[in-house]
Structures are given as C-alpha cells and as structure tokens.
C-alpha cells in the first residue's frame, strides 16, 4: 500500500515554533501547492499577529497610545471579535489583552473598544497590550484546514510545535493516526485520532498569557490539559484556560463550548454533566 501513496512531508518555522505537515493520497503537485499555501498563510498571520516584528499589526497596536483608533482589516477585526468572545466564554481565564505595567494580574474590565462597523480598535489605557500567543497556532490551523479542503486532501496530519495538531482521514497503513504522549509523570497516553484537532497545554508549553485565577487555582496538579475539538481555535483557547481553571470553573466554562474530549493529565473529564 505504501509504495504509491505519494507521501508528502515538509516542515517550516513560524510563530516561534515548527510546523510539520504530512499528507498522502493526493497528487504530488496538489500536496506541494497546499503546503506552499499553508506557508503563505503562516507568513500572513505572523505579519498580523507578531508582537516582535516591527512591521506586524499587533506590534503596531501594542505601541499605540490610548484613544487612538487603529483601522483593522477583516481578518484581524474578526480575530479580535472572536478572542473577546472567548474571554467572556472562559470567564476571563483566556485573555489576549493585558496591562504592560502589571502583566501578572488579571483585569476585570474590557481593555479595548472594538467597532465592527468602523472596523477599528481603541485602547482604553496606553498600557494595554495584546498577545495572540495563546491562540495564533489555532488560527493558523483553522486556515490550514480550509486549504486542505480546497485542495481535496483527504489524509493529512499537521503538527504545530508538537502541541497543536490537526489530523484527517487515515494513516497510510490504515486506521486512525496514533499518538503517544506523556501527560504527567511517568504516564504515557496513546490517542487514536480521526478527523479532529488537538491542543495540549502543559508547563513546558508557553501559551502566552496564562493568568492566575486567584484562590481558585487547583492545588497544583502539574497536569497537562489536552483538548480535542472540531474547532482548532477553541481547542487552543480551552487548553490555555482550563490549564489554570479550578475544577468548578472547568465545568462552568465547558458548558459554553462543544468539545469532543478533555484530558486532565491522563484522566478524561466527563463532559456535559
């Protein structure tokens, strides 16, 4: 079976990590074209979301003063609207905004005004900063999924930094894509995945701004949080938010999302209770 499957594998760097793409079962050309489009999308999103590239939109936003509206393109506007919604749905535990003066503490109020009609965003304080680090990989994966669809690629596996995964179709040897990962001390879990997305948050995966949620913090479990979802952006958001959420918060937050599976360490969280 393996001899004529046109197995494609390439890798590139972006958003400070490595993107790896495996595809098979489609023509060599289409697979290469799709990979090139994913790379272009990565470059495009990095130009929007980077905090470090002085030519990037977010870099520009971070350097603005208060009450100075910034004009947004559709993609960035929609991303801002989306992340603000996620902040509400996660009770503030996922938040791309923070105050540079006091980046360790959470803030209670909205820090920006977004006007979807004028397509602008305005900071309410000059110290407002934004960091899409906790969601950027999910946004890119969502775009990559569209590109795989457009190019009619049925079997693929994308790993972004080893912690954000998309897989579709089947493994070249048949059956699910199998993954091994160590979720906590000494415990390895094997997951068999078809057509889904995975995001893993653990101490070794910096996910941008993870704010401490005060007293509610779980007595440190040191456990990773793994989210399996049809929506790669929500998988990212939740793996960040649930990593710092208390047990009660986890359940409250999960009511707002449609998720396939949540693992806290190696334990599967029972959903919809």
């Amino acid at each position: 079976m393996q001899t004529d499957i046109d197995l494609f594998y390439e890798t590139t760097m972006g958003m400070n990590t490595r993107l790896e793409v495996v595809m098979w079962g489609q023509s060599e050309l289409k697979q290469q074209v799709c990979f090139n489009q994913i790379c272009a999308a990565l470059e495009y999103w990095e130009r929007l979301l980077s905090r470090f590239d002085p030519t990037a939109e977010i870099y520009h936003f971070n350097s603005l003063v208060e009450n100075e509206p910034m004009q947004l393109g559709d993609d960035l506007l929609n991303s801002f609207i989306q992340v603000i919604e996620y902040r509400q749905k996660t009770k503030g535990l996922f938040d791309v905004f923070y105050l540079s003066k006091n980046s360790e503490t959470r803030h209670e109020k909205d820090l920006v005004d977004v006007d979807p009609v004028l397509k602008t965003i305005v900071k309410k304080s000059p110290d407002v900063q934004v960091d899409f680090g906790g969601v950027g990989k999910g946004i890119l994966l969502a775009r990559a999924i569209e590109l795989l669809d457009q190019n009619e690629i049925k079997n693929a596996f994308i790993s972004f930094g080893g912690s954000s995964i998309h897989c579709r179709g089947i493994h070249p040897k048949g059956g699910a894509w199998p993954f091994d990962f160590q979720v906590e001390q000494g415990i390895d879990t094997t997951l068999e995945l078809y057509n889904t997305n995975l995001s893993v948050s653990g101490l070794y995966h910096g996910k941008g701004h993870i704010f401490e949620s005060g007293e509610d913090i779980p007595k440190q479990s040191g456990k990773s949080v793994t989210i399996q979802s049809q929506n790669p952006i929500e998988a990212e958001v939740l793996s960040t938010a649930l990593f710092i959420a208390s047990e009660q918060q986890r359940h409250d937050i999960l009511k707002n999302f449609e998720i396939e599976k949540v693992l806290i360490g190696s334990e599967q969280l029972v959903l919809n209770e």
Partner: protein, 425 residues
C-alpha cells in the same frame, strides 16, 4: 549587508597571513618599497600597552607599519610604555596631550585605549583631521557620543573601527559564518555570561587617594557603565553578529550586592534582549564567583556553539551535517516509508527532570592562536593602506555600544527599553 559581511569574513580569515593582500598593496606600503603606515597609541594603560606589545612584536614579520608616537597623561603609564619601547629598541615621540600629538606627529592611524569617557572627543578630533582610528571598546559613555563618533566617521570618510577583537578571531569568524550559512538551523537563543571573583580594582599608589576615580574609572558611573560597557559590550556584539540583527528591546536588572566599597556600578546583573523574530539573548555578569567564567552559548535548532571555549555540540547526535532534523513527526514519516505504523510521540509535557543532554563535543575551529587582538591590529593596518573598511564592522561596534547603554537605562528605570529612533543607523 550579509553579503558584505561574508566577503569580509573570507578576507579576514586569511588576513594576518598576508594572503588577503594583493601584491600591489605590499608594493606601495612598507619596507624598501615606500612609506610605512604611521601609527600612534593614545592611552598607554593596561590595554594600550598590551596592544603596543602586540604591534611591536608583529613588526618582525611585517615592516609595513611603525609606531611613531605614544600619548598618555599619567606619568606612570607613560613610563611603563617607554620601557616597552626600549625593549623593542624604538623611540616614538611621547606626548601628554593627544592634541599635541596631532599637531607634532603626523600619523595615518591611532589606536585609542583611554578610559571609556575619554573615547569620543579624541576619536572625533582624529577622524576630522583625516586620521583613521581603532578605538577600544566600548564605543562611548553616552548614546549621543557614540552617535557623534559614528557620524564623524561617515562624514569625514576616515576609518573607525571599535576594538571588539572577536570580529577578527578565526574561531568566531568560522562559527558565525557557518551560523549565517544555516548549518546549525535558526538560532533561538544566545546565552552569555562573564563571571569573575575579584574586586575589579586597580591598586592606588600609597598616599594618593585622590587617584581613586582616575585609576578605578570602571567603577564610577561618570566614566563607565561597569560590567555593561567593559564586558557585556563584547558579548552583545557576538549576539547581534550571530543573529545578523539588533535587538528590539532590552529588560534588565542589576545592583551592588557584594562589593559595597563605594563603587557605583552593579556587581551582579542580568539582561534579556529580544530580537524581532522572538529570539533572545540572555546575558549575566557577576564579580563574586568565577565558577561559570566567560562564555557565549549560541543555541541553534541543531547545535549549540560555545564560542569562548571553541566547542560545538550537535543536538541530534546521529544527524549528519546539513541533514534534516529528526522530529517525532519525521520519525513517524520514516516509519511509514518502512511500511510501519507506530504512534508519533507528540504533545504533552514531559515531566521528567530535563537535565542537559550529553553529546559529543567537537571544536568549532582549530588553529586560532590568541583572542583576535593581533589580527585586529594587522587588519586595521590593512584598512589604512586600502583606505577602506567594511561598513558593517563599525555598525557592529556602534550597535554593541548602543544596546549596552540601553541596558544601563533598563536597569536604572526598571522598564523595558527600546531604541530611540534618532540612534538607529
């Protein structure tokens, strides 16, 4: 810019052996063929005399330059310098004021090794008078002085290079050239430190306490930024060079923790530089423990280079040079090609203690003797002969000085500091 840099690297690796020079330059300069490059040393303290010794020592193999004048305004330094001249049987003119030297001793180039706060005006006066300058690091005590030195070189057309000798050291040149060629993959971090266990003081002659600030200028903020300008400037130069970029910001903290002897500069400090692509340089300095010594670790995807100790370690021991890096995903692809289905080890945090990996060490480059100072001096002579120097070299010195002084600001204000536009070049 990187092309210029590469060209220079190639030239510089052979410079000092004489191979880099076209025959024509030998014909017009030196020995029986014509005039020699006339050099002077201004500031014959510790470093100035070290440079003098090297210059004089090399003259037995190279008769294209001569030391025609020396200048110092502190008699003991001048006396010590004269002793060296006697040893090499030369009698350069001596001055206690560089302006007199400029007036009375025609020179083609000067080597300035005065304390930091005495760099800018001497350099600028020389450049404007058409004298080429090798000025010791760090460039200047203030941002505006450093910029004025840079501008003076551009405007006058006189050569200015700053004495970061690693730029002339074949071990560094070789390592950096391979980094730029991508042999080790993208560089994510530079980790630099310089730890010493001494008070960093010069002895004060008995009965002359008034000389404290003059001799121990390194310890007072009026004259120096201490460990930042004197040590870190070298390492941020290496970092910028490796990244082929300058930082976008610096965060730092420092203070006087141990040597509470009246000094004003920190004896314990740490800085983090962020570059535009998110890579970072982490640098720390202390004067109370030498266990770590001095090092710059250049940490790339596939290898770590320890520049000071000439060590190269591949992160993937089985990987061939230039070969692709093995990741869990690429291993899975290899398995598929072998017709096997094995899980890809991905995701999840590893909770085992992640102690340093032990991999085989190789040398970055064999055959560099010394730290690059001799090559720096001889290259300066060559630059004077050809009346040109690659412009990246001054930029390297300027940017090192700039970010060194911005680090001082970061420590003093406790803020993340970026570079004001007017100092960007």
């Amino acid at each position: 810019m990187s092309n210029n840099r590469r060209d220079f690297i190639k030239t510089s690796i052979v410079a000092g052996t004489g191979l880099a020079l076209g025959l024509s330059s030998f014909q017009s300069w030196g020995g029986v063929f014509g005039k020699k490059v006339r050099l002077a040393v201004i500031g014959t303290g510790g470093r100035g005399r070290f440079l003098m010794e090297h210059l004089l020592n090399q003259m037995s193999n190279n008769d294209t330059y001569e030391l025609v004048a020396i200048c110092d305004n502190y008699q003991p330094s001048m006396d010590a310098a004269k002793k060296i001249c006697n040893k090499y049987k030369i009698t350069p003119k001596t001055f206690d004021d560089y302006k007199k030297l400029m007036a009375d001793a025609p020179v083609d180039g000067v080597i300035i090794a005065t304390p930091l706060y005495q760099h800018a005006h001497i350099t600028i006066d020389c450049l404007n008078a058409g004298i080429h300058v090798l000025c010791e690091k760090s460039m200047a005590r203030t941002l505006s002085d450093a910029k004025a030195m840079y501008d003076a070189s551009i405007k006058s057309g006189s050569i200015l290079i700053i004495g970061h000798q690693r730029m002339f050291n074949k071990k560094y040149l070789n390592g950096i050239e391979r980094i730029h060629a991508g042999e080790f993959g993208p560089v994510g971090q530079v980790k630099a430190y310089w730890h010493r266990n001494k008070d960093w003081r010069r002895p004060i002659p008995e009965g002359k306490p008034e000389l404290e600030r003059q001799l121990n200028w390194r310890l007072y903020k009026e004259y120096s930024a201490g460990l930042l300008t004197e040590l870190m400037s070298h390492q941020i130069q290496v970092s910028n060079w490796a990244f082929q970029n300058t930082p976008v910001s610096v965060q730092a903290s420092g203070g006087i923790q141990f040597w509470k002897d009246g000094r004003e500069v920190p004896d314990n400090l740490a800085a983090i530089f962020t570059y535009a692509d998110g890579s970072r340089c982490i640098a720390d300095y202390m004067n109370m423990n030498r266990n770590y010594g001095v090092e710059e670790h250049i940490i790339a995807d596939y290898a770590t280079l320890r520049m000071e100790t000439n060590k190269l370690q591949w992160d993937k021991p089985n990987q061939t040079v230039n070969g692709p890096m093995k990741t869990p995903v690429s291993k899975m692809v290899d398995d598929i090609k072998k017709g096997e289905k094995k899980p890809a080890a991905i995701g999840g945090a590893s909770w085992r203690p992640e102690t340093a990996k032990k991999t085989k060490e190789e040398s970055i480059y064999e055959g560099q003797k010394g730290d690059g100072t001799v090559e720096e001096l001889l290259t300066f002579v060559e630059f004077i002969k050809t009346k040109s120097a690659p412009d990246w070299m001054l930029r390297e010195g300027y940017n090192a000085s700039l970010w060194t002084l911005l680090t001082e600001k970061a420590i003093d204000t406790g803020k993340t500091v970026t570079c004001p536009k007017k100092y960007m070049i």
